[in-house]
Symmetry: C2
Subunit: 394 residues, 2 copies
């Protein structure tokens, strides 16, 4: 058997130890938060802050863990897609577009304006604005799934808006990045946008029908659990495909899940298998977000105030922008949508990383954006729990 790893290949044991500590900490925190009637998601992120470099330093973020976290969030969105029939998304199409557009415009200008007032150069301000744009919908979906609320129109609007968010946000980042380089390639911009929209529409409209028709044949293959396997292949395949045309991998995974939603309805074994993969991998995604936060830079108090201000702007602009977009649903649902779109999670972190690599934001602004990303992600789940509790108990 696999005797010699311990003696010879140190990194393996080291990574296994990191995974063990992350999973243990995440689930202990989740259990504690559930007992305090707080959402488990927030607990798992906080577990990352605590075991990460900022506090205990038990585990450091690594390339392997980040990649595993990325696969985790891909599976999260895949399993959310499995619960989302295409027809139900189209019903909420108009509202979702409105929510997405307003939820991009307000945070972008709010973030830019705040940074200009603070005295940041224009390109840096534009980048912070961009970091405030994109929603990290995985967190919200995790909370709604735990409450059994994935099948509500609000959940569908948030998901639809997040997909559109992703496409529009991509354009904003392209424009802002081009600005910092001095030129804008309108042609490339237009092509990416068209490809992105076309691909999404194609999978949602035609892909799902094809999958539903082909599914019985896949079921009859010789390999065991063939439909589940085919789902995994489709999930990874679409994740790669959308990455190549410039959209986030998780959108592809979501579309793959959605394409399979009708064909796999009621297949409990398949759902449990997908759920198993998700339950194993998603904690690494959540803990990894928390581990990104470096608390030490905030010994400089002016940065603390800036971070709080940016976080406040991030929360308020998204709440108002998306809330107004969903106004037709009534005040309560509009608030649910607004709060559901609040978390920036790993997306804000990635935008900040790009800004840092382009040299348009410095290490201190990077820490501020990171704080905003983690804080918005921690604040949304408890608010969501409160806002949805009345619905859930019905």
């Amino acid at each position: 058997m696999n005797i010699f790893f311990a003696a010879s290949i140190g990194p393996t044991t080291e990574i296994l130890l990191a995974l063990f500590l992350m999973l243990l900490a995440a689930k202990l925190a989740a259990e504690l938060f559930e007992r305090l009637r707080q959402p488990a998601v927030a607990g798992e992120i906080l577990a990352g802050v605590i075991i990460g470099p900022s506090v205990l330093g038990l585990v450091a973020p690594s390339e392997f863990i980040t990649m595993l976290a990325e696969i985790g969030v891909i599976f999260l969105l895949f399993s959310v897609g499995l619960e989302t029939k295409p027809s139900s998304v189209f019903q909420v199409g108009k509202t979702a577009v409105l929510v997405a557009v307003l939820g991009i415009v307000l945070p972008f200008f709010g973030g830019w304006l705040l940074m200009r007032l603070w005295g940041a150069p224009n390109t840096g301000a534009l980048f912070v604005g961009t970091a405030l744009v994109a929603t990290s919908v995985g967190i919200t979906m995790r909370v709604l799934a735990a409450m059994g609320m994935l099948n509500t129109s609000v959940a569908r609007i948030i998901l639809g808006a997040a997909v559109i968010d992703d496409i529009l946000g991509l354009l904003v980042l392209s424009v802002v990045s081009s600005t910092s380089a001095g030129t804008i390639n309108y042609w490339e911009l237009g092509t990416t946008a068209l490809l992105a929209i076309g691909f999404t529409a194609f999978v949602a409209l035609i892909g799902a029908r094809v999958v539903t028709r082909v599914a019985p044949r896949i079921h009859n293959l010789r390999i065991s659990d063939s439909l589940f396997i085919a789902g995994l292949v489709l999930c990874l395949g679409l994740a790669v495909a959308v990455s190549f045309i410039g959209i986030a991998a998780i959108i592809g995974a979501f579309l793959a899940g959605m394409a399979l939603a009708e064909a796999t309805e009621g297949d409990e074994r398949l759902h449990a298998q997908t759920n198993g993969v998700m339950e194993f991998l998603v904690p690494f995604f959540l803990v990894n977000i928390g581990m990104q936060l470096q608390l030490l830079v905030f010994r400089d108090w002016s940065l603390v105030w800036l971070a709080l201000a940016v976080t406040l702007v991030a929360l308020v602009t998204k709440l108002i922008g998306c809330g107004v977009g969903a106004w037709s649903l009534g005040l309560k649902r509009a608030a649910q949508v607004g709060v559901g779109m609040m978390p920036r999670g790993e997306v804000g972190i990635v935008v900040a990383q790009i800004g840092l690599s382009l040299g348009v934001i410095d290490a201190r602004l990077y820490a501020v954006v990171l704080f905003m990303a983690v804080a918005t992600t921690l604040i949304a789940p408890p608010l969501l729990t409160v806002l949805f509790k009345a619905d859930a108990s019905r």
Copy 2:
């Protein structure tokens, strides 16, 4: 949402593409092999040879993929452990010890003798002998699981023997490594052996009882699927713990599964969840084995003959050694045990890597050992299928 990975973080897309290609190739080959009435496992390894650097060069082995493969085989052994009650292993204890010991002595001396006859220096010959010692039981378990034969006494003997194999094999490697360094640390050797045996006995005897008693409490925790989660934590935890005392991580995973076997009996959701993780990760383990094979060095025909001779010795010595050890079960069962212990898989590869890093075997002998490891792994599944078919159809 997670917009920007595609544009900014190339490696993510690259790795997702590799995973997609590996899973797709593995499952297409598995389906083809099943239709040809050959075991799917062999197909998935061959898929690795074909898409790997030796033939098409579509995917190259990487650190990430190797680590993911390692987690995959950990889950494979965990789920095998879930099907293995401790009591059933103890019933076959004596036979398993005999199978393990004879299955180590014969291949070790056979490999050493062959290399000495070929003209290799003594330390190199000792390393090749060591590479022939350790069984990669994952492959066999995959085949038996697919045939529904995990609950046979033969499967239990193979598993038990593989656990003992691992502990004894560790000692052989330690002695051989010390020899190449000129000194043998008997004290360290004895401590490791005692720790390994003690730990295994402790988990099998006491751990399982504790888990069975605690399980209902874990079930009552607030977090969803708490028993499955606890199983994951225990699996990773024991994998790490045994690594620290010098045993293979997969033995820890197997012990964790075995400790949970009684508590989770009949829990279909938990088994489906574990199965989902396994089905997702194990193909990477199998394809990765195939990708390790470099066919190009075999332009030198003398190496081809050596590789074939080493492989033949590996197969015959294990078959006879283990077969004689299991003689009390009758000819057919003894043959099943002997063939089940044949695959060297990733373990032979790891021994070869250590020998290479110590400078006692060269790149050509490394390729020979690699060939032996892949070949024994490819040959065993079809033989197992034939030998078990009569039992399975009953």
